[in-house]
Symmetry: C2
Subunit: 311 residues, 2 copies
């Protein structure tokens, strides 16, 4: 009797590293990638073909893609903001291009300096370029559960954007909780609205733990029938809009929760912990993942290491 | 249409402070207590009448109880390990004495240096002393969801201990997830077993966020019909058995989740955040609470404070 299979996409090398003060060397990124594959991860956001000046942390996107071992069972996705990025992604032989737009106008203008309508128009050309090279296009909707400037985002707004993506042939869409505003009722409302309007779309959920309930939202997503989630090793990443707050949910904490609730990910939790600790060394500051500190649930302590504790 | 009422017990002043390297002055404890009452908290674990040599952080238990303003709508509970502690608690005019025992033999011996059977025998005399002064006795079961030395704890073991507590007249029992081993299936199993065997017992759940799923376990507890939870301001506290791991779930993160899922606590989230930040100053190191860093969900950012962010 197997549990539900859940697909975990590792986004640490992209979303996780993009805001880190320290630039991680290409060889270390590749070593982390290889270790994650050995631990059982199969789907990755590897990097981003944005301006190297704007995001120097990911300026080595082509080198990372050239340096990692390709396997037919891996999916390597990269962020592509425009046609120029698409050209670079095609040259780097990505498996998927991720086009992205915010669900709120002010966040999109802040993020990519143009209105949502212009972002959506750009997707069409990127999709044509991708199709010519048999590359899948994946859509990502930022601020899908709330906007740090506008507040609540109507589910109908997210449905409309997903519909525009569906119209150009996109079949997989990630809903991003960019600044950690998702709650279980909002997750239910947004996922339900998309399922009703676009049952053909495969939805992936991308939660941040900014307000401590990232994994609670995962459970709400599972209850809503979603079986695809994004996370980052160690909980790497963060949002510059919420200083001091953590970023993405941690891959190993997510895998722990999924393991313990009868889901199957194919990921070896024990193998994840040293990778998270290695990532902590690479970025040079503590990461928020909990399993990497506490260890697996049934890793028992020897009695002679004991000190007093109540509660 | 009101939501379910949930009772939150603040344990920061006891469970939170007992393992802190820095001893917080009595006057500061009282100021934090007063602020928590102003924020809407009504039920507290104020301190512990254990040996001042063993836990110097709480040596001022009597002074704290003498210094805080009493109100008929507040419940002030204190930990009482034995008859000597009960005498001190009676003198300090506590509302409730909390007697405690571990569900696992090795943890109980480590914690209080005696077998479970001896701990249980001691409860009877404490209960008689309390009854003579119209003081309620509350029970607490540590390692109720797993033991760091023995691993899984059988729900039947917890039921047996709760039954022994019920037999001496205890009507409220806290189940403690001492080292953060609870998972949703374990929460369902333990809560279900106690409900079936002792439906008269009011169960309170005390989760640690050691492995990142403390609030997921709260949702599992709510699903199991439990409406009483313990937490600490800022997520103060921790377990010496899991270095680097966080301790209690944070009161303000808990209140945020309860607010957002339609539950009523009577606690003002906005008023909690400065108290958590004050506690961080008092203990002199960062606390794991997330809301105290990120702020409320709909506290919007001004657009001119913006930097680039994707995802």
């Amino acid at each position: 009797m197997g549990g539900t299979v859940v697909e975990v996409t590792e986004v640490g090398l992209r979303d996780g590293l993009q805001a880190e003060p320290r630039i991680v060397p290409t060889a270390d990124k590749i070593a982390v990638f290889d270790a994650l594959v050995a631990a059982g991860l199969r789907r990755f956001e590897v990097s981003s073909f944005v301006s190297p000046r704007a995001v120097p942390q990911l300026a080595d996107a082509a080198d990372v893609l050239a340096g990692i071992a390709r396997r037919p069972d891996l999916t390597l996705a990269c962020l592509v903001p425009n046609e120029k990025g698409a050209e670079r992604a095609i040259a780097a032989k990505v498996d998927e291009m991720v086009t992205f737009v915010s669900a709120s106008e002010s966040h999109n203008r802040t993020n990519v300096n143009r209105p949502i309508a212009d972002s959506l128009r750009g997707f069409g050309e990127v999709a044509r370029m991708a199709a010519a090279h048999d590359i899948v296009v994946h859509g990502a909707v930022a601020t899908a559960f709330g906007c740090p400037f506008e507040g609540d985002v109507a589910p109908a707004r997210v449905v409309e954007i997903v519909g525009r993506m569906a119209a150009i042939g996109i079949r997989g869409v990630t809903l991003g909780d960019t600044t950690g505003m998702a709650t279980p009722p909002i997750v239910r409302a947004v996922c339900g609205a998309i399922r009703d309007a676009h049952p053909e779309i495969a939805v992936t959920l991308h939660f941040h733990n900014t307000r401590g309930i990232g994994l609670v939202n995962v459970m709400a997503g599972l209850d809503a029938g979603i079986t695809r989630f994004e996370s980052s090793v160690g909980g790497l990443g963060g949002c510059p809009f919420a200083p001091g707050a953590t970023g993405n949910i941690s891959t190993e904490d997510l895998v722990y929760l999924l393991d313990e609730t009868g889901h199957e990910t194919g990921i070896d939790l024990a193998a994840m912990l040293p990778i998270a600790r290695r990532m902590e060394q690479l970025v040079g500051h503590p990461l928020p993942g909990q399993l990497m500190k506490a260890g697996p649930r049934l890793a028992l302590y020897p009695l002679d290491a004991v000190r007093r504790a109540v509660g």
